[in-house]
């Protein structure tokens, strides 16, 4: 069995490994997910509602996961499935080649989008657009 998370470019592997909640494939969750702690959630099933992490937070939408009518807010957002709604990534937003995003996405620091990703919406950088890069 694979002990390594999906290959990511921006989202740290330990963040994906620290996910504590899982909506399994075939399950349907109707409602909002909210937490004030730095946790994580992985969606392999169907979720209708908002996901909000007040501080920290990692959201992993699996390849079979679908989230609709949503507003997602977390530090790290890793999308392999389908998301219909608004996405706010406070640190890093990663959209893979198998992902579909219908809606606006905004990020504060980093973004990575595969050339075969399907995005219909606006991508917005929320940081200071004229700030000098810090290495």
């Amino acid at each position: 069995m694979s002990q390594n998370p999906a290959s990511t470019r921006l989202v740290p592997a330990d963040r994906l490994g620290a996910i504590t909640s899982l909506i399994a494939e075939g399950a349907v969750f109707d409602g909002n997910f909210h937490t004030a702690r730095d946790q994580g959630i992985k969606v392999d099933g169907h979720l209708k509602g908002n996901i909000t992490f007040e501080t920290g937070g990692t959201l992993h939408v699996g390849a079979s996961g679908v989230i609709e009518n949503t507003r997602i807010e977390a530090d790290y957002v890793f999308i392999e499935g389908k998301v219909i709604g608004t996405v706010i990534a406070r640190k890093a937003l990663e959209i893979t080649g198998s992902a579909t995003l219908i809606g606006d996405a905004s990020y504060d620091e980093l973004i990575d989008m595969h050339p075969r990703a399907r995005v219909r919406g606006k991508i917005e950088y929320r940081g200071d657009i004229d700030a000098e890069p810090t290495y």
Binding site: P5, G62, A63, R116
Partner: protein, 180 residues
């Protein structure tokens, strides 16, 4: 008391009866990652294929049409090879500029001599005395010619027998001969 039921014996606590939540979480995540990888790879490959076909559709279509056309031409050529071989001389006689020239050259060339045109061999008739002398000389040479080695089954012939077998031409025979 009579209304109290006797307590059931409790099972002994086992540390492995309930799995560790952490191990369950890790196993569930690992299985989910594995499934994600498989589904994502398949979906991404399908997206690349769709993009490639959409982008190079005309190229692929043209290539397929060319291949089909080439195959059809090859098959038609190999199938009608005999018919084309038979039609080639007719087509050449009508189309090639060399054929009329060759035909004119052949017509201008002298024809083969017909038997009526063959000249008769020239000869001079010798007088009868000289002919008799030649015949006698030939007969003498034949008579003096040594006999070949005798065969075992045959009896050897004598010179006189050999001379008797050779026909002698007499002047009257010579006159009746059909030789020219």
């Amino acid at each position: 008391m009579p209304w109290r039921r006797p307590e059931r014996p409790k099972p002994p606590p086992s540390p492995h009866a309930v799995p560790d939540p952490e191990s369950v979480r890790r196993a569930a995540l690992a299985a989910s990652w594995q499934r994600d990888r498989r589904i994502a790879q398949r979906r991404l490959a399908w997206r690349w294929v769709l993009w490639f076909v959409g982008r190079y559709f005309l190229h692929i279509l043209g290539l397929v049409v060319l291949l089909l056309l080439a195959g059809w031409l090859l098959r038609s050529q190999s199938g009608s090879a005999n018919a084309e071989h038979a039609a080639i001389p007719i087509a050449m006689s009508e189309a090639s500029p060399l054929v009329p020239a060759v035909l004119q050259t052949l017509q201008a060339a002298p024809a083969w001599p017909t038997p009526s045109r063959i000249p008769e061999p020239a000869y001079t008739e010798l007088p009868a005395q000289e002919l008799n002398a030649v015949d006698l000389r030939l007969l003498r040479q034949l008579a003096e010619k040594p006999e070949p080695a005798p065969l075992q089954n045959k009896t050897p012939r004598s010179a006189s027998q050999a001379e008797s077998l050779i026909p002698t031409l007499k002047p009257e025979n010579w006159l009746h001969s059909k030789e020219p």
